[in-house]
């Protein structure tokens, strides 16, 4: 299935969860907050959150800012 991650197209196998995606991207150990379709999914629910065709995922962290 095809989804969008941080505004870029991304292909996943069926049944992938948000936690799987974050692991695949090498972000499992990094502070990383996730939104699916503009709704925050807290980390404790990443494992239980299956991704679906067309989902728009945002994965963010903290950077320098004022």
């Amino acid at each position: 299935m095809d989804i969008t991650v941080n505004a870029k197209p991304h292909s996943l196998s069926e049944g992938t969860t948000l936690a799987d995606l974050i692991r695949e991207l090498g972000l499992a150990d990094a502070p990383c907050a996730a939104e699916v379709n503009q709704t925050l999914v807290p980390k404790r629910r990443h494992e239980q959150h299956p991704l679906s065709e067309g989902d728009v995922v945002e994965l963010v962290t903290l950077v320098g800012g004022g």
Binding site: K8, A30, C32, L59, T61, L62, G64, G65, G66
Partner: protein, 286 residues
């Protein structure tokens, strides 16, 4: 003969802690973490500033490029209260999303700032001035969602009062546009904001946020009666950021003490500091 060791304590009158959004700090200077040339310089500048609250931004992970160094590898999150901002948001909706993402990140890190947000809803990319309507909408929504909203505002006292009424934990009027280095362009409006926000509520915290260029700007804001100052570029882009951070710390303290000390009235004519009585020379008009 007995020698008695004496301990000299330096007391700095007036520099009492202050409370904002349920937390108490010694330093009244909040600093940003953006725009530094490298992380070691940022760390040294944060240390020199004496700040206990530092702002950060929420941005997409770089997924496909070399990620490089992370801010979080260089920020002592046990030492600082991290204040995530909604910089770059031009609608209430986006600002609320970013605030929630920031809170989630800080929750994961167990940082004390977790329910704090520095709310910015911008109206225009060129001036980065706040959108007053979007700011108010986002404040209401975030307060209802349990956030402590520290809200960037224009220096308009009516807008400032509306934001406080909406439940903001602090209103933070801009001295001048973000990153402009113009200092406090309209000190009268800052005074009007302070009056409006502190009427019947003298401990309500008001932070002058944005526009600082030099240490004197910090002192001026504090002398007007602000509870604190938030700045970033003036340190990060100074030729010597660490030295400037020292200057900002002292300017903040000096401004606070000057405010509390009660300045003299301004007068049109001079008042001699040395007595005329006993002067041995000619004094015109006498």
């Amino acid at each position: 003969m007995t020698t008695t060791a004496t301990t000299t304590t330096t007391t700095e009158p007036g520099l009492s802690p202050f409370t904002i959004a349920g937390r108490t700090f010694q330093s009244r200077l909040f600093v940003g973490t953006g725009k530094y040339t490298d992380f070691p310089t940022m760390q040294a500048a944060l240390d020199a500033s004496g700040s206990e609250v530092v702002t950060v931004a929420v941005r997409r992970e770089r997924l496909y490029n070399d990620r490089g160094e992370s801010l979080l590898d260089h920020l002592d999150t046990a030492r600082y209260t991290i204040l995530p901002n909604t910089a770059g948001c031009f609608s209430a909706e986006d600002a609320v999303r970013v605030a929630r993402l920031g809170r989630e990140l800080l929750d994961q890190m167990g940082n004390a700032g977790a329910s704090w947000v520095k709310l910015e809803v911008l109206g225009d990319k060129k001036t980065l001035l706040p959108d007053p309507v979007g700011t108010l909408e986002a404040t209401r929504e975030l307060v209802a969602d349990g956030f402590q909203v520290l809200c960037y505002s224009s220096d308009d006292p009516i807008s400032a009062a509306r934001i406080k009424d909406a439940g903001a934990a602090s209103v933070m009027p801009a001295g001048s546009p973000i990153g402009s280095g113009q200092g406090v362009l309209n000190p009268n409006n800052i005074v009007l904001c302070l009056e409006a926000l502190k009427r019947g509520d003298p401990t309500y915290p008001v932070i002058v946020d944005a526009g600082v260029g030099a240490a004197s700007d910090v002192s001026q804001a504090m002398e007007l009666g602000a509870d604190g100052v938030l700045l970033n570029t003036a340190i990060a882009h100074a030729r010597e950021p660490v030295m400037m951070a020292h200057a900002m710390r002292k300017a903040c303290e000096a401004g606070r003490q000057s405010y509390l000390s009660g300045r003299i009235e301004k007068k049109l004519y001079a008042t001699a500091s040395s007595p005329f009585e006993g002067a041995i020379g000619y004094i015109p008009g006498e």
